[in-house]
Each structure stands twice: as structure tokens, then as C-alpha cells.
């Protein structure tokens, strides 16, 4: 069917545009990778001493935490990108073209997903240099990274919606960040949840960031000593719970975003 073919090729044109932007303004890619690498170094050497008794040291548990934190910020990046396109009137122009209604948002999320690949590779190399050594099979390691990419992709769709309903690119970027930043800390990403107050412990165990961190720790071959407190379902079955969260997020935000795009007005 030509309309399906067009939807795909239209989305790819939008994705290509994002990649061209990275070539024209390489600073974006540089800062997108410097920031997580900086986090790796800071946490590795500031909190490195916390890892007493952890096989392989703190860095083994830290890296999955930072991977998840970084892909979580995709939400803000997508939201800002779309809000900027709205402000510039580009979304108006795209909407006046005979392209499928999903092409622009599909292309954007795909582009942000590709950017995550680059960022994760750079972080993985940085982690390896400071002592991160996954102990599982290559297949498991690959599965861990694929899970991370999918998580970023699912959150990207929340970002699409946020970007389309926002009125100001800088505001939506800040709001998204304010929302996601605490999420990444109210979790098992950097410290054990057992020391948190009880209500926070429950929140932290059900927090998708925690389930993702636990899932990737498991896939990279480490015992998640930061996350098993109450033997709740999410902490016992982190991979299944994470996949469930992603499916729910996409089931909600994909149709919402496409609907929003159809009537998006630059106001």
C-alpha cells in the first residue's frame, strides 16, 4: 500500500532532518554526550566508596542507573524539539503538506532514539574505562541496551505530547526536566531504597526508573542489592514490569500525540 509506504518514508525524511541538524550543529551531540559522561565520572569517584561489599564495586550498580537516567531525559529533549518546531511555525508547514498525520511525530521519536544509541555507546565506553564490567553473555548485554532504547522511545512519546501542548520550548524543557529528574533519584538508581522513608520506598519500588534499573542490572549480570526490600512484584520481576510500563505509556501517548498533532495550533 502506497499510503503506508509514504507514512514510513515521510517519517524517515523527518528523522533525516534531525540527523542533518546534528551535522550542522555538532555542539548538540557533544553536549548530549558530555553530560552523561560527566555524571559517570562524578558518581563513580564521589560515591565510589559506597560500594563496600558490592562485587566489582559501586560502578557495576551505578552504570545501569546512569544509563536509565540518561534515556529518561529523552522525554525533555523530544518535548523541547517539538515545542521549538511549533514556535517556528514548522509544524504549521508540515501540517499543510500532504503527508501522513503521524509522520512528523514518528520521525521525531525515531530521531531521538537514534541519538540515544550514540549517547549510550559513548557512555558504555566511558563506563568501561572507569571499571564497569558486565558479567553476562553478549546476548544479555545487547538485550539490556535494547531495553534502554525502548524505554527512551516510550518516554519520547510522552515528550511529544508535552511538546505539542506547550506554548514555550524553554518552559516545556524545564518542566519535563523538573518532572523526570526527581523520578531518577526517587529510585534504586544511585543508592539503596532501604534507607528511604517507608512511603518513598514503595514509590521507589514501583517507579519505572527503578524497574528499568533493576532490569538492566539483571541483564548485565549483577545482583540488584539496591532494590530488593519488600519483595514487591516490580522488584521481583523488573523486566516484565518495565515492558508493561512501556507498553502502557505508548498505548496512551501515541494516539494522544497523533490526535493532538492533527489539531496543533501555534498559540
Amino acid at each position: 500500500m502506497s499510503s503506508v509506504k509514504h507514512s514510513v518514508s515521510d517519517a524517515l525524511v523527518i528523522t533525516k532532518r534531525q540527523l542533518q541538524q546534528l551535522v550542522r550543529v555538532p555542539e548538540v551531540l557533544i553536549f548530549n554526550t558530555i553530560q552523561p559522561v560527566m555524571f559517570v565520572l562524578l558518581f563513580r569517584y564521589v560515591f565510589g566508596g559506597l560500594g563496600v561489599g558490592i562485587p566489582g564495586g559501586y560502578v557495576q550498580l551505578l552504570m545501569p542507573g546512569i544509563f536509565v537516567q540518561t534515556v529518561t531525559f529523552t522525554l525533555a529533549a523530544t518535548a523541547q524539539g517539538l515545542a521549538q518546531d511549533m514556535e517556528k511555525g514548522l509544524i504549521d508547514r508540515f501540517r499543510s503538506l500532504p503527508i501522513s498525520r503521524s509522520a512528523v511525530v514518528m520521525g521525531r521519536t525515531l530521531g531521538d532514539g537514534l541519538l540515544n544509541i550514540v549517547v549510550l555507546v559513548v557512555m558504555g565506553v566511558a563506563g568501561y574505562i572507569v571499571g564497569w564490567r558486565p558479567t553476562s553473555s553478549l546476548l544479555h548485554i545487547a538485550a539490556g541496551f535494547i531495553l534502554l532504547l525502548f524505554f527512551g522511545y516510550a518516554l519520547s512519546w510522552c515528550g511529544v505530547f508535552a511538546g505539542l501542548i506547550s506554548k514555550d520550548a524553554r518552559v516545556v524543557a524545564n518542566v519535563s526536566f523538573l518532572f523526570t529528574f526527581p523520578l531518577t533519584f526517587l529510585s534504586n538508581a544511585f543508592a539503596s531504597t532501604t534507607t528511604m522513608p517507608k512511603p518513598l520506598q514503595y514509590f521507589a519500588e514501583w517507579n519505572p526508573v527503578s524497574t528499568m534499573v533493576a532490569a538492566t542490572r539483571q541483564l548485565f549480570g549483577f545482583h540488584n542489592t539496591f532494590g530488593v526490600t519488600a519483595h514487591s512484584y516490580p522488584s521481583e520481576h523488573p523486566i516484565v514490569t518495565s515492558l508493561f510500563y512501556m507498553v502502557v505509556l505508548m498505548a496512551i501517548f501515541m494516539p494522544l500525540s497523533v490526535r493532538r498533532y492533527k489539531s496543533a495550533n501555534r498559540r
Binding site: 550542522r24 514556535e87 517556528k88 511555525g89 508547514r93 501540517r95 499543510s96 501555534r266
Partner: protein, 342 residues
């Protein structure tokens, strides 16, 4: 046998009938039973102040916005029922150059060409043609953010012409441009008009509508308040006015001269010592007045022939000056003023 639909005389490329669009639960009426049409191969100028409903009209006709009620067709296709088919045959260039500013002009045109489903090769050939047509070949590989305002608008217009649209919508194509940019834009638009494109153009400037449009509709508060050719509208407004400023002692004598030559009564602003009167013969009247004043040894401090402005048109049609809408941002979505991204 049922007779096929007859087009009486000329075919209408754009028809809007009784369009209504309100914002904020009916508090702001952007379109209030607005009707207009554009004949195939002609240019319609939609003239009005900020907030009159110009942009909303364009947004409805270009399928970006659904009207609350009313009916509109472009190229015979209903904009609400079959927006996708309408998008295939229109080009839209808005108030703000809607381009990816980090990319080059070339990148932008190729991207939009691909989105119109041209092949990669076709998109590149068309981008090259358009860059040449709009004198942008030399800047083709510079990022848009380094372009001047006029260049951006030209590129934006080029992007709307990629598939040679049957109907082109230009929303305030010269707003915010310096005089030189405006002249360049006019030349480009005039050459398109010569090629026979059907164009609906909105503007705040009577002069612009006069230069570019075959027909003009004047809109105010979402309604059409006048329609006609540029000459008809001007005749209605009373054409040009002669304005002269003289010393206080010369006012009465100068006034007599002007009224005789103009053949009409004049208006005197005592404070500014300005006498003004409508004239029919334009510069001839001006020369005649100068000669007579010179003969009387009256030395004018200022002397001008004023063409009617949008304000004059408004004044004569509505009796009030062209006002900005109460809430401009609601009636006409506009981009917030901001510094660049970097």
C-alpha cells in the same frame, strides 16, 4: 438528464461561505460569517488590520484549522471533508518563515520536496530550479539563520512552490521586511502572478494589495466590509489628498488656492497649520498649487501628496480607524518575540 454543474463565467478556485470561528468558548470571534471567493488565475488581496481575521481565514482555507461553521472549498475540494486532497494542491507561506533554521536553504528545499513525495533526484532538481528562480543559489549552502529577513521569506515562498500548487496562500508575505526586502518580495510575487498562479494574499498595506491583487476584500472583526478592485476602493476612499503646511498668516490665502484647484472643501488643522484636501489629478494638482502659491509669494513649509492608506480606507468605510483587535494573540496566532536560540 441532470445537467453538469455550470460555472457561471469563470471558475472559482477558492470559495468560502459564512465561515465562523470563535476562540475561548465564543468569547473571541475571529471569523464572523466571512465569505469570499477567488477566481481561477487571479489574485485576491485580503486587507485588514491586525486581528481582523486574516490569518484565521488562511488557516481555515489551508486546512490547518476547522471552522466552527460555514463551508469552504479550494480547487473544488471541501477543506473540512477532504483536507488531504486540498493539501495536495495548495502552497502556504505564513507570516513567519517556517523553515528549519539550523539547516541550509538547500537542505530545507530537498526535505520539503521529499515530503511532497518527489524522488530524491526530482527533489534536488526542483530545489536547484527554485534557488535559481529566487536568486538564492549563492547562499544555498548556508544555514537559514544567517539569512536576511527578505531571503528567508523568499526561501519560505520557494518551499511553498515545490509542486507548483494550483492555489497559493501567502499570509502577510512582507510584514516585518525592510523596504528593500519588500520590493524584492513584490517582484517575486508579481512574476508568479504573471505565470497565472491563483493567489490569496493577506496584507495590512493598501499599497501592497494595490500592487499585487486583482481584487481586494477589506475585512474587519472577522467580516468582509468592502470588496472591489483597487481602483474601486480608492474611488470610494476619495483618492489622493494634498497636504500643505504654511505660516499662520498665509493659511487663509493658501486655503483658497487649494480649494479652487481641488474643487473640494479642505480641512484645516490650525495647530499644525496644515491644510488638506482631496485631489483628483494627483501630481498635476500638486504642480498647479505650487505655481499659484509661488505667484502669491506664499512659501510652503511642507508639501505632500498622500496616497490613501489602510487607515483612510477604514475611516471611509467604517467611520473608525483600523483598530488592533482587543486580544490580538487570540484572534491571530502569532509567534512570541524572542531572541534566537543561540
Amino acid at each position: 438528464m441532470i445537467a453538469p454543474l455550470a460555472y457561471d463565467g469563470a471558475m472559482k478556485s477558492v470559495i468560502a461561505e459564512n465561515l465562523v470561528k470563535t476562540y475561548r468558548n465564543g468569547q473571541v470571534k475571529a471569523l464572523d460569517n466571512l465569505s469570499l471567493d477567488v477566481e481561477e488565475g487571479t489574485v485576491l488581496g485580503v486587507l485588514g488590520p491586525n486581528g481582523a481575521g486574516k490569518t484565521t481565514t488562511v488557516r481555515v482555507l489551508s486546512t490547518l484549522l476547522k471552522p466552527d461553521s460555514g463551508h469552504a472549498t479550494v480547487g473544488g475540494i471541501d477543506v473540512v471533508k477532504d483536507p488531504k486532497a486540498v493539501r495536495e494542491i495548495i502552497g502556504l507561506s505564513g507570516q513567519y518563515a517556517a523553515l528549519d533554521e539550523t539547516l541550509t536553504g538547500w537542505d530545507n528545499l530537498v526535505m520539503f520536496g521529499r515530503l511532497y513525495h518527489l524522488s530524491g533526484e526530482q527533489a534536488r532538481v526542483r530545489a536547484k530550479e527554485l534557488l535559481e528562480q529566487f536568486s538564492l543559489t549563492d547562499s544555498a549552502h548556508r544555514p537559514i539563520k544567517t539569512f536576511s529577513g527578505g531571503m528567508r521569506r523568499r526561501l519560505d515562498l520557494a518551499a511553498s512552490l515545490i509542486v507548483r500548487p494550483k492555489v497559493l496562500f501567502l499570509d502577510e508575505p512582507t510584514t516585518g521586511l525592510d523596504p528593500r526586502g519588500r520590493m524584492e518580495m513584490w517582484e517575486v510575487i508579481q512574476s508568479l502572478v504573471k505565470d497565472g498562479v491563483t493567489l490569496l494574499l493577506t496584507t495590512q498595506y493598501l499599497e501592497e494589495a494595490d500592487q499585487l491583487a486583482d481584487d481586494i476584500v477589506v475585512i474587519d472583526r472577522g467580516q468582509v466590509i468592502a470588496r472591489g478592485s483597487s481602483d474601486q476602493l480608492k474611488a470610494e476612499v476619495g483618492g489622493e489628498r494634498l497636504e500643505i503646511v504654511v505660516d499662520e498668516s498665509d493659511i487663509d490665502a493658501a486655503r483658497a488656492v487649494i480649494e479652487r484647484i481641488a474643487g473640494a472643501s479642505s480641512v484645516v488643522d490650525q495647530g499644525l497649520r496644515k491644510i488638506s484636501a482631496p485631489v483628483r489629478a494627483g501630481t498635476d494638482s500638486l504642480i498647479e498649487v505650487v505655481r499659484e502659491l509661488d505667484a502669491l509669494k506664499i512659501h510652503p513649509l511642507d508639501l505632500a501628496l498622500k496616497r490613501p492608506s489602510l487607515d483612510d480606507v477604514f475611516m471611509s468605510i467604517t467611520g473608525h480607524a483600523a483598530e488592533e483587535a482587543v486580544d490580538d494573540s487570540a484572534a491571530e496566532p502569532t509567534k512570541k518575540k524572542k531572541g534566537g536560540r543561540k
